[in-house]
């Protein structure tokens, strides 16, 4: 069994997560010492600036990175098991772009973060529902049709977001670019709390589905024979993935490839058992987004590169590698 390897990987990821979080909190444009940051974190600090920077800028940003990274990786891991395909992730199946479109439409008409989250959630779920409807063939769910439907929805939503970006010209362009490429620049405690309220039930729903997802790897028919309520498992996992993706998009826009790369690397290391894969994907996804944001701010502290660009620069070559490795093998 893989328990020894799983413990080692869990410990490694735990240390990585804590180490990156510490670097994240200590690193920034404000000239504040590590000692001040730590005293503000664990004690009552007499340095008001350090306390302000930590609790009003860096800590919400860190929490946003954790919520977004863990949600995206968890959604990706769940969807890959559900579709029995390592190329499935929220950005490929249309959920991300649907949520981004919802967010962009919402900010065109409302200024409230809740309206924005609601917009992202509604269109993210609509995209998921539409893709599921396309995927039903002869009253059963087809993974291939669902995946292809997701690609179509992705293209459509991307086109509408592109049209809106084109229409607003320079005035609102930067805001729209934020949703398209992903950034942690705009996160406050209110955003995080709203996002967290949506994410937590979805995390539990996904963890609850781990055993069903394991059996779903045998295919829908065998999963039914083994006792899985296949329809309910589909709805639960797709719904949870949509909710996690929408809440992530709402606070930091579309961050691609986290949901693709993280579960795949972990699966190669600890195996496909979702009872291990899902929680470790969440931990590794959070670490990757934290790392990407550190890199983004290291390149330019005054005008950080959107982290979606950094995760895509890491993820796109990996995606091509996966495609090449799979070759002509059927899913």
């Amino acid at each position: 069994m893989k328990s020894g390897k799983t413990i080692a990987v869990s410990a490694l990821l735990g240390f990585l997560f804590l180490g990156l979080s510490a670097v994240f909190l200590c690193f920034g444009s404000s000239d504040i010492s590590v000692r001040d940051i730590f005293s503000s974190l664990f004690f009552v600090s007499d340095n008001d600036t350090a306390s302000l920077v930590l609790w009003q800028i860096r800590m919400p940003r860190l929490c946003a990175a954790i919520v977004a990274g863990s949600s995206l990786a968890l959604a990706g891991a769940g969807m890959q098991s559900l579709f029995r395909n390592p190329l499935a992730d929220p950005s490929i199946t249309g959920v991300s772009s649907g949520a981004a479109l919802g967010a962009v439409v919402a900010i065109s008409f409302f200024s409230s973060i809740f309206a924005l989250e609601l917009g992202a959630l509604i269109l993210g779920l609509c995209a998921a529902a539409f893709v599921c409807a396309i995927g039903r063939v002869d009253s059963r769910v087809s993974a291939l049709s669902t995946l292809l439907g997701g690609i179509a929805v992705n293209a459509f939503c991307g086109a509408v977001v592109g049209f809106l970006m084109y229409s607003v010209r320079d005035v609102g362009l930067r805001g729209f670019v934020f949703w398209s490429l992903g950034s942690l620049d705009r996160c406050g405690w209110g955003d995080i709390a709203a996002s967290f309220a949506l994410c937590v039930p979805a995390w539990f729903a996904m963890f609850f589905s781990a055993r069903s997802l394991n059996v779903m790897l045998l295919g829908g028919e065998q999963a039914y024979h083994s006792g899985v309520n296949v329809e309910r498992a589909w709805m639960l996992v797709i719904g949870a993935a949509a909710a996690m993706t929408a809440s992530s998009v709402a606070i930091c826009g579309v961050i691609g490839f986290v949901g693709l790369v993280v579960p795949h690397i972990l699966r190669m290391t600890i195996g496909p058992d979702n009872r291990r894969l899902l929680p470790l994907s969440a931990l590794a996804g959070a670490s990757l987004v934290i790392f990407a944001d550190i890199v983004s701010r290291a390149v330019s502290q005054t005008d950080p590169i959107p982290i979606g660009v950094i995760t895509a620069l890491i993820g796109a070559p990996f995606f091509v590698f996966l495609l090449r490795k799979r070759g002509n093998a059927d899913d």
């Binding site: 069903s212 394991n214 045998l218 065998q222 039914y224 083994s226 006792g227 195996g271």
Partner: protein, 256 residues
């Protein structure tokens, strides 16, 4: 016990099963024989609950399965499908353990039972091998172990449905697979297997159902069903029954 009453099923283009009634009691092994496309695998899928009948009903131990959930059905019956492609790479032991989904959440009992099932299917010693690295016949035996694992230790009153369990297996392992099914019946399970090998059916079946064009031509004890006339009629090819000191054998000589 598994029973079908006047069962019919159609795909959009054609009727596949037409008015099938049969009953397999606890402790019995029944084999479905018929030519390609006769409806054997479809009948097995309807009996398993995966396909819903157009008419008639399927009873598992007297209960109409249309009123039962997937979990309730799975706790009383296991299925070995004709094909089973496993996405992502489990170990052999992990694959066998998937059989315990409907029954147990305790990893220790799952593992003990999965190891025993692998031994029953002739895969002892393969536990830590990767499933994807196995040959086709070995994968088939692991899937059989998964189905046996789903049956559990208390097999009385359970139902085991096997779709071509000997497919891809050499003669020794084909006999071993059917012997494992026979053992399950000895422990009180009702076993229904789809086979293409009439001699394997003769060796292990208590009853044989001959299917032609979705209908049961005859459902009776093996010796009554395996006649040259009936088999020639079902397979549309000459058939001979050869008597020997060890019983009888079915032979299909090449058509003249």
């Amino acid at each position: 016990m598994i029973e079908t009453k006047n069962l019919s099923f159609s795909y959009p283009a054609s009727d596949v099963i037409d008015g099938v009634s049969l009953c397999v009691r606890d402790g019995e092994v029944a084999v479905l024989l018929g030519a390609n496309g006769a409806g054997k695998s479809t009948l097995l899928k309807v009996m398993s609950g995966f396909l819903k009948p157009r008419a008639g009903c399927v009873l598992h131990n007297g209960r109409d399965i249309s009123a039962l959930s997937a979990g309730e059905i799975a706790r009383g019956r296991a299925v070995l499908e004709q094909e089973c492609a496993l996405a992502f790479d489990y170990s052999v032991l992990e694959t066998a353990m998937l059989g315990s989904y409907a029954r147990s959440r305790f990893a220790l009992s799952e593992e003990v039972l999965a190891r025993k099932s692998l031994e029953r299917a002739g895969m002892k010693g393969f536990e830590n091998r990767k499933y994807s690295r196995l040959s086709g016949g070995e994968k088939r035996r692991v899937q059989l172990a998964r189905a046996l694992c789903q049956l559990g230790e208390e097999r009385g009153g359970k139902i085991l449905l096997l779709d071509e369990p000997s497919s891809g297996l050499d003669p020794a392992h084909a006999h071993a697979a059917m012997a494992a099914a026979r053992d399950a019946a000895r422990d009180g399970a009702s076993v229904v297997a789809v086979l293409h090998d009439a001699n394997l059916a003769a060796a292990y079946a208590d009853k044989i159902a001959l299917l032609k064009n979705g209908k049961i031509l005859k459902f009776a004890p093996s010796r009554e069903v395996l006649t040259a006339d009936l088999l020639s009629q079902v397979y549309n090819t000459p058939c001979e029954i050869v008597e020997s000191s060890r019983g009888f054998f079915v032979s299909f000589p090449p058509p003249q």
